[in-house]
Amino acid sequence: MSSLLEFTDSKYIKFLKSKNKYKAIEELADVFKGTDVCSDIKAFINALKEREEIMTTGIGFGIAVPHAKLESVHKIAFAIGISKKGIDFNSIDGKPVHLVVLVAAGERQHKEYLKLLSKIMSVLKNDAIRNEMIQAKSTKDIIEILRNAK
């Protein structure tokens, strides 16, 4: 799979204010409003919340990867949310989440969806990259980190 940058944009990166995980999901999903990624943001947020209710996507190390496949998603993409204070995501290690990577995919983009998730996970597994992203001061910094990530 090609670079992660192909699936995101500086517009999809946000420094989050919310402390609650559902509010944070809403806040971050809103970055897709008015873009060609998703035509029904409300349905998308509902799907993300429903999924979150079944099992947390807070996988520890301060990361959460909420994700959903939906008919109204026309283009596979991901958004990045940074929370300096941390969000209670009910993570598996009980620690607050500082980095939220929200993945949106179309109903039939099964392969691409898994490939993207896999690529995101392999980048976030790297402690240095993860910490750099959490410490980033601007969207430009995040883009630069992703550009350099292998």
Binding site: I54, Y113, M121
Partner: protein, 581 residues
């Protein structure tokens, strides 16, 4: 240096697709060479027998009257009947049609002994003068070798089918020394014009490889000696007229064949091969007066092109050829219709041009004979493209392409318009196999419930993927994903999870609902045909059967195919008894 070596090694070991690709080229080359060699052995046997026991040779060198040697086809018939009686199982699968059936029904691998049997039985049939062609047996031998090599390499059934097709086409390429025609024979006849078929690249490579073997053995010698000819494009109306004549002659031949087939069934029911004996006696009588109808017909073609016959004799030879080819073909003797079509076509075309000269129209009979060859080949065998290319490859002269294109396509259209299908499609239809709808027709009468299985595994949509993986490893097929109330949500098979397995962290992140495949299930009232169609659309190998929103059973792709094969075999046994084809 080491760096480059490592790079190359890494390239080949990590690129699975590339390895597959290279392997496919390698296997195709080997199968092509094997099919080419098989064809050359077959060709040599026929040629040797033709030379050794040709009535005209004997009469010339041993001073034995030719009418005594007309007994050769009778001896041949006795040998062929004996061989068929000794090996009834192998004898039952004859000709091009049996290759199409093997590919269509995936009745593969073809046992090696069956291939050897057909090589010997066909060489005896054709070597002792039966007026049939070598292409049916060649295709059978090539297909058999392709299938045998695939089974030695322990390839799966899909790949075996691919190489069976490649072997059949390659053998045709070798026997006619015409690689392009071999490729198109594979496409038009064996694959029934399925251009999207994955066998295509293997077929092309195998044909080239087979032709190299054939050229190394035979040299560049063409089967036919074509004298100089002239193509006048202003004669286009006559071209079209001849094309229609070819189509009509092809239809008449088919009609005659049909009547003979019905007659044979009436008198010998399931044992039409036994008719070879009285038929060969009749043929022997005809040979006493017209020795030129002996054998495959290449010598006759060359004599016609060399203008050795008067018009009245040409007409008699044409009628005799048509009658005896149809009579022999319908006994189920080991031989094909390609070479006979060429022979009939040459006679039709030459006669056409010669007869028009009586009305003051001067046409070059050689040009029209060559056109007739293409027109007849296309009309009789439903292979317009192969016919064009074969005539081109046999003549090696591009000027003939335009008239042959017209002759082939118009003749083919005339036959298909009248018959509503190609000869192979119609023959298979008589056996209950509708290739136009492939398997769908037979399976429409089978209810999906009759082959359903109750032993399936379910998993909750909310379950972690890790749990599903453990279940999948134990399950024979995939899993049925259900909601909290047991309602059907979709399926999960190894296909869906393969990508997730690339990263163990992704497995931790996912639940079944994230990757469930939403498949429209089958209902208990659906036919197996509908279920098969749906599985083909989704590219899956099992389908849930639901009542309301609850899954009651599943149906497997392989169970439907095995049911289909069983039904086809039952139809065969019912209609044709022991001698199947």
């Amino acid at each position: 240096m080491q760096h480059y070596y490592n790079n190359v090694k890494a390239f080949f070991t990590t690129r699975y697709d590339l390895k597959e690709y290279i392997l496919q080229i390698g296997i195709s080359l080997v199968i092509g060479a094997a099919a080419g060699l098989g064809s050359m052995v077959f060709h040599t046997l026929i040629e040797w027998m033709r030379f050794a026991i040709n009535p005209s040779h004997f009469s010339r060198y041993l001073e034995i009257p030719s009418f005594v040697m007309a007994i050769v086809p009778v001896i041949g018939a006795l040998l062929v009947i004996g061989l068929s009686r000794l090996f009834p199982q192998q004898a039952s699968e004859r000709g091009v049609r049996s290759v199409i059936k093997s590919v269509l029904l995936q009745k593969i691998p073809i046992p090696f002994f069956t291939t050897v049997f057909h090589l010997v039985a066909s060489a005896v049939t054709l070597g002792t003068g039966a007026p049939l062609g070598p292409e049916g047996p060649s295709a059978k031998i090539g297909a058999g070798l392709g299938s045998y090599i695939s089974s030695l390499l322990r390839l799966n059934i899909r790949k075996m089918t691919t190489y069976t097709v490649a072997g059949a086409g390659a053998a045709i390429a070798a026997i006619f020394n015409a690689p392009i025609a071999g490729v198109f024979f594979g496409i038009e006849v064996i694959l029934l014009n399925d251009l999207k078929n994955e066998s295509l690249s293997a077929l092309v490579i195998a044909c080239v490889s087979a032709d190299m073997v054939s050229k190394a053995y035979l040299g560049n010698i063409s089967l036919l000696q074509i004298p100089k000819f002239q193509v006048n494009t202003h004669e286009v109306l006559y071209f079209i007229l001849l094309a229609i004549v070819c189509g009509i002659v092809a239809l008449l031949f088919m009609e005659l064949s049909h009547i003979i087939k019905k007659f044979y069934k009436k008198i010998r029911k399931d044992d039409t091969i036994a008719i070879l004996l009285p038929l060969s006696l009749l043929f022997a009588v005809a040979l006493m007066f017209y020795t030129d109808i002996y054998g495959i017909g290449y010598e006759l073609i060359n004599k016609v092109l060399a203008k050795e016959f008067p018009v009245n004799l040409l007409a008699i030879l044409l009628v005799l050829k048509i009658i005896f080819i149809a009579l022999y073909f319908q006994t189920g003797a080991y031989g094909g219709l390609f070479a006979p079509s060429l022979c009939i076509g040459i006679l039709v075309g030459f006669l056409f041009a010669s007869m028009l000269s009586f009305f003051g129209v001067t046409l070059d009979p050689v040009t029209y004979a060559l056109m007739g060859m293409g027109g007849m080949l296309a009309g009789l065998n439903s292979i317009p493209i192969t016919a064009i290319l074969m005539v081109f490859e046999l003549t090696n002269d591009y000027r003939i392409i335009l008239p042959v294109m017209l002759a082939s396509v118009i003749s083919h259209l005339t036959v298909t318009y009248y018959n509503k299908g190609t000869i192979y499609e119609l023959e298979l239809l008589e056996e209950g196999i509708d290739v136009r709808k492939t398997r769908i027709n037979i399976l429409e009468s089978v209810n999906v419930q009759s082959i359903a299985r109750k032993d399936f595994q379910i998993i909750n949509a909310k379950a972690p993927l890790k749990k599903a993986l453990n279940k999948l490893i134990e399950a024979e097929t995939g899993l049925i994903v259900v909601d909290d109330n047991g309602g059907y949500r979709g399926i999960l098979s190894l296909n869906e999870v393969r990508q997730a397995l690339l990263s163990s962290d992704v497995v931790e992140l996912l639940i079944c609902q994230d990757i469930v495949f939403h498949v429209n299930p089958s209902s208990i009232r659906d036919s197996a045909a509908e279920a098969l169609k749906r599985m083909d659309e989704y590219g899956i190998d099992f389908l849930p059967i639901v009542k309301g929103d609850k899954v009651t059973a599943i149906v497997l792709y392989r169970d439907i195919i095995s049911m289909y094969n069983k039904i086809v075999l039952q139809i065969e046994e019912k209609q044709y008894g022991h001698f199947g084809l």
